[in-house]
Symmetry: C2
Subunit: 197 residues, 2 copies
């Protein structure tokens, strides 16, 4: 039976973007299913007491250079950060939940991540999000309306709480069964586990 | 002309241990010189306001599993942590400075790191350190006496201050010229730079 890798991410997270560009190829190589699960990184930080790298000035000074190195390493377009980085990704993440229930989470997520981190687009803007939703095969007005329902808000919150309860403290976080892996830079370990019969 | 990679590390740091097991092979592949430079990770944290992963309970819970994954990935013996982890590595780091001035930094460092992270030995113990110093070709009593001199204490402090001034916020940290790389998990970027004419 094919294994499943749960991929918890937040559209504000550039390391989640880097992971998003790798997981589908990883799925093809291993035969695994990837379950894309938006969560709220801010909620994870709040629940765990962890802090984002940019909260420390020395780490912040290194962050962009590291991201640029990663994008080059992966053969991706030159990495950019949105002007309002770190973006408030609440609306985008809720829309991601809608995309997931409509079977469009992969194209929608790739569109949002690429807009943010290769074009530096403002992904807090509803008009920009509507355009990305449309490009991913969603009906933008319906999807935006759905994303503001209590049901979707609660579902996103539950993803966040669940990830924290299972040990997550940052993004991206992966689970294969109960085994957790933190970071784009641990995908080789995820692949080993997915490749082990 | 061969490039140089400066490798800042602390004997208390298990990720520094993981790096120490990779840098000499990297040097051979690239023709680069590795300059092993002990520093005080506690001093780096104090100066930058950064905190060690174990200061957060969620990160601490993941740390050991991640280290075990890394050791397996690199084909190293099963990873252990000393009982008193994180060890007070001041004495070991000072002795590392003595090993460096006597041209024995590589065997001494490998002996200390392996004792700590494959045997779980207490590297705060002067008798254990003396034995490791002897195995690395140092005269243990002379080396220990030298390690307590103001000259050595100051030199270690200068390494720490210099690394912080150049942008370091954790261990291991690498520099190729002015370009900094943080973490055992960024050695592929170090290698790319060392391999570029």
């Amino acid at each position: 039976m094919a294994k499943t890798c749960e991929f918890f991410f937040d559209y504000a997270s550039p390391y989640s973007y880097l992971a998003s560009e790798q997981v589908e190829a990883l799925a093809k190589r291993t035969g695994a299913d990837i379950r894309w699960r938006p969560f709220l990184l801010g909620g994870v930080y709040k629940a765990t007491g962890n802090v984002p790298p940019i909260s420390n000035s020395s780490k912040a000074a290194y962050l962009f250079k590291d991201l640029v190195d990663w994008a080059r390493h992966l053969g991706l377009p030159e990495l950019r950060l949105p002007e309002n980085f770190p973006s408030n990704s609440l609306r985008a993440n809720r829309l991601g939940m809608v995309a997931a229930e409509q079977g469009r989470i992969v194209p929608f997520s790739q569109a949002v991540f690429r807009a943010a981190f290769t074009e530096g687009k403002d992904i807090t803007d509803p008009a920009a999000l509507a355009e990305l939703a449309r490009a991913a095969g969603l009906e933008p007005e319906k999807a935006l309306a759905r994303s503001e329902t209590q049901e979707i808000k609660d579902a996103l919150r539950r993803n966040t709480d669940e990830a924290v309860a299972r040990g997550a403290f940052g993004a991206p976080t992966f689970f294969v069964g109960d085994e957790m892996f933190f970071g784009n830079d641990r995908l080789m370990f995820v692949e080993r586990v997915l490749s082990t019969p």
